[in-house]
């Protein structure tokens, strides 16, 4: 019993001690006013040549905001982009709020945006990537069974920036960013045990919380 407890404590310490995540938050513009009732859309930037902002990260931020405030309606990214096709594709997506003004000249686009009742458009640009890896692991299979032995470790870094456009004022009103990093480990004695640093989840929580504070300020 004592041995089991000791093993459990050691494993818990190992898991807690190895997984680290650093959060760096920056807000360039202080919140000026919150929204009581209204809708927002969160969109990922996808025009860089070597990466796309992950759709599941965009969903994660949207869910975070929806959970945090019942009065804010978050339009799903895919639904919005399809409804306004082809004006928010990587080739055509507006890079500044002024470009949205030019898009509004098209009656069909202006009507659709009015129907959606959009208050804020939030662009997220960034990605999560593995930075370094080391260690080695050997796996084998034999008549009596299979197993692995070794140790592997890798770093992960997330860097995201959110840009907020206020549709009522036709202005860019804020920028926020989250930078998180962590080290994951995978020891293997017969069975590999992955100890994954929740780097992207932490970035999502961090950026989601900042955006929620911004959108709810004063309400």
């Amino acid at each position: 019993m004592r041995r089991t407890l000791l093993s459990g404590l050691m494993l818990g310490g190992l898991l807690g001690g190895c997984v680290t995540a650093n959060v760096d938050e920056m807000t360039f513009d202080a919140p000026v006013a919150g929204m009581t009732d209204g809708s927002i859309v969160i969109l990922g930037r996808r025009h860089a040549p070597d990466y796309d902002t992950e759709p599941d990260f965009i969903d994660c931020i949207g869910n975070h905001i929806s959970r945090g405030s019942e009065s804010i309606s978050v339009i799903p990214e895919r639904q919005f982009v399809d409804a306004l096709y082809p004006w928010f594709e990587p080739r055509t997506a507006p890079l500044s709020i002024e470009s949205v003004g030019r898009l509004m000249i098209l009656p069909s686009v202006a009507n659709k945006l009015e129907d959606l009742g959009l208050n804020y458009m939030i662009w997220i640009d960034g990605r999560t990537q593995d930075t370094n890896s080391s260690g080695s692991m050997t796996c084998g299979i034999g008549p009596t069974g299979a197993g692995c032995f070794g140790f592997g470790t890798w770093g992960t870094e997330s860097e995201y920036e959110a840009t907020i456009w206020n549709f009522d004022d036709g202005a860019e009103v804020g920028k926020m960013s989250a930078l998180t990093s962590g080290q994951s480990y995978m020891p293997a004695v017969v069975v590999p045990i992955p100890i994954i640093a929740p780097v992207q989840d932490t970035a999502c929580d961090s950026l989601g919380t900042q955006l929620l504070q911004y959108l709810s300020a004063g309400s």
Partner: protein, 230 residues
């Protein structure tokens, strides 16, 4: 070779045959990938161009596929069939983009419908890149089309009562390029990633078509006066 290897083992005939089949299937799966591009395509949000257009999808267009056979060790053969998705995508886009669209499938259609022009899209080239070859963690698809706008009379072969594209002289002809990419993702297969990149390329082709159509030489004159500009 597989059968000779199995012959050296003391196995029954039936077991040998099953094992041969399994091994050959596994080897085939490792060396070739087949993608039939599938996706859902939205109707574009545009104010229709006030013309009546016949759209002709050629047999090559309907059955287009990219075939890339492996040439060396470690390479994988790819067959990417885009034809069905091409037809599905452009059949959604054109009726929203032009005020009136009919799909021309036969000589009789050309005789029956009164259209201002016939639009003929053709796939000139499709290329792909996967992380295995580029070391960049994205799957990419490039597409190049040749589009032509032609008077209906130009493609009618009255002698043989058929459609002929051989001697047609389009009044507007232009190339259209498209690009789609998708990053590598956990638990996503090569096939799914290439399919997604192809769907993105099709969407990009549509975006490029919609935003560039009115700048194509000859098109504005035709739209302003569909009867005479040709």
């Amino acid at each position: 070779m597989v059968e000779r290897l199995l012959d050296s083992m003391t196995l029954g005939r039936k077991v040998q045959r099953i094992l041969t089949l399994i091994i050959l299937l596994v080897l085939a799966a490792c060396t070739s990938r087949e993608v039939i591009v599938e996706g859902t395509f939205p109707t574009p949000l545009v104010d229709p161009v006030p013309v009546s257009v016949g759209v002709l999808f050629t047999q090559e267009f309907r059955e287009h596929e990219l075939v890339d056979d492996a040439t060396g060790r470690g390479e994988v053969s790819w067959r990417v069939s885009t034809g069905t998705a091409q037809v599905e995508f452009w059949s959604t886009l054109f009726p929203a983009f032009f005020q009136n669209v009919v799909f021309i499938e036969s000589y009789e259609d050309l005789q029956t419908y009164d259209v201002d022009a016939v639009l003929i899209p053709q796939v000139a080239d499709v290329q792909y890149a996967i992380p295995l070859y580029t070391n960049v963690k994205v799957y990419e698809i490039w597409m190049r089309y040749n589009l032509a706008l032609v008077e209906p009379e130009q493609i009618i072969d009255e002698e043989n009562a058929t459609i002929s594209l051989e001697n047609m002289q389009p009044f507007a002809e232009w190339p259209l390029t498209a690009y789609g990419k998708t990053p590598t993702a956990f638990m996503q297969s090569d096939i799914d990633a290439v399919n997604l990149a192809a769907v993105m390329a099709l969407r990009d082709a549509g975006a490029n078509f919609i935003t560039s159509f009115l700048r194509v030489p000859g098109v504005m004159d035709w739209i302003e006066n569909p009867e005479e500009a040709q």
